[in-house]
Symmetry: C2
Subunit: 313 residues, 2 copies
């Protein structure tokens, strides 16, 4: 069994490659919920949805979020009502949020609802929210106020400087049922190429999760989302630079050095392998830019190989 710590798009692409080389039913994804938000009274879990839609093959590749073939009737009607519409919700996507919100209101935990949605989408990978309890990523902007993640990411288009990041609720939140068991029993744990600060950060902020990974460090491999000092998508490089002064893949490796024993670097960063090794992580160089077909599967194979797990296909 393979466990994967996952954020949004990068993790979803990696998981889609992983299930080409191992059986989908042997994969457990532990997904960030620090980005979760409430909008129009709805509980929205962007990373869970991105992973679900991608593994179902129904993600909107042009937009980079939401569902393929989406329509926008409800959004247009909300605009007319004067509701805030900076967070775009497609009609089909909305059904997911309505279903989730309704089930949560009935008392079902997020992990149960997540499994129900995954099943309806025909997703065989076992998807677990990192926690059934609320953890909310909050960013203190350099010029003052603290904002919630979606405000930073979507409304402000992450084009503002950040002074600090915290994960409200992380201290009290318990890992969702199945999370610690999966991390304990996995043959390999992969930290997907997601934003180390705001996607993987909230998961590692759960102390029992960090503790089990630190103990099983030899089985944990992290994949750099940074290639040649830049992120393919999103604010990973900018946030790393603002918070640590370094936006290289080495900065990512440093962040993971307590919980991962191996680290996959992009070929363009091969020169950093020695410095990663010096941090105590076994460096592995691979193609990490999952644009062309086959790259994600190859990356999954390389990552598993780095912790001694052979792939079946």
């Amino acid at each position: 069994m393979i466990a994967v710590l996952a954020g949004g798009v990068g993790a979803a692409r990696f998981l889609a490659g992983l299930v080409e080389v191992v059986a989908p039913s042997s994969v457990v994804a532990v997904v960030n919920t620090g980005d979760d938000t409430r909008l129009h009274g709805l509980h929205i879990s962007p990373d869970l949805d991105t992973v679900t839609y991608t593994l179902a093959g129904e993600h909107n590749a042009e937009l980079g979020w939401g569902l393929a073939g989406e329509t926008w009737t409800v959004m247009a009607a909300l605009e007319r009502l004067g509701a805030p519409t900076w967070f775009r919700l497609g009609d089909r996507d909305l059904a997911t949020h309505l279903y989730r919100t309704g089930r949560l209101a009935e008392g079902a935990p997020l992990s149960t609802v997540t499994a129900e949605i995954a099943r309806a989408f025909g997703v065989e990978v076992r998807l677990l929210p990192m926690s059934d309890d609320p953890v909310r990523t909050r960013l203190e902007l350099a010029d003052g106020p603290e904002v919630e993640f979606q405000e930073y990411f979507v409304r402000l288009r992450h084009a503002v400087a950040v002074r600090s990041v915290r994960f409200a609720g992380a201290e009290e939140a318990r890992p969702a049922p199945g999370v610690l068991e999966a991390l304990e029993e996995a043959d390999a744990v992969v930290i997907a190429p997601s934003n180390p600060v705001v996607s993987i950060g909230p998961i590692l902020a759960l102390e029992p999760v960090s503790a089990v990974l630190a103990r099983r460090r030899a089985c944990v491999v992290a994949i750099s989302p940074i290639v040649a000092g830049a992120a393919l998508k999103g604010p990973a490089a900018r946030l790393l630079a603002e918070l640590t002064g370094d936006s290289s893949a080495e900065a990512v490796a440093r962040r993971y050095s307590a919980v991962a024993g191996a680290f996959v670097l992009d070929e363009r960063d091969a020169a950093l392998a020695g410095r990663v090794g010096a941090l105590g992580l076994r460096p592995v160089v691979a193609e990490t830019v999952m644009g062309a077909p086959g790259v994600a599967a190859g990356l999954a194979r390389a990552a598993l190989d780095a912790v001694g797990v052979a792939t079946s296909r």
Copy 2:
């Protein structure tokens, strides 16, 4: 100023006629919220929406509820997720519920949100929910369980016998801001041709509302929703028969005798005028079936005339 106690479709049609004979801005509608429900985490106010959509000229005349030109993309996606879909929600209609739920979650009272939605739809009539506090109509079925209104009305299609009706929360609920003032100051108060048990019943269950109407009884005129022992739509006749043994217009007049001084009967029930008079209500006979153009306006004129209010046009 004219105040109207309103349920759903019948009241909405009456109001559309009323604004042909008096200025819309001089009309205050006090609308039943006993039918309000939560579905998929959304706060749904069916009677407020029916009145809003109808006065905006955007109601779906074929369906008898919802918006004209509606689409059903979200519903289809919800069906796929296995969500209960017996309560149909169109895409545009959903935006109203999302807006309302979002604003209520922000702490806005229902009366404020109702005014915002009415303004966005260009409705000039002042729409007031009967209360900002929750009142929920619950029906005890003859064969056992107690169900909430929408379960009875939509899911069971009101094709089941009812033993009793109650309005949970009515004792603690306060009339919404503006309701008592409107009823105090109105030149006439019209009880619209809505279901007397489950549409007008919840409004009258607010003790301060009944009290002011009883005091101002001479200015209050009720319109029978029953024509020749049957309701044009919905379970009014059946409920009256089950709860009182009588489903005639006279049974409606009896229900309103403490709060109304005049009563509009349909022409087909002209023979009951004497019995209505004997109950202490001044009977007025008029065409009440608001199918053909002009009937609703004529009915509004007749109702206002019954309490001595001349119409301006």
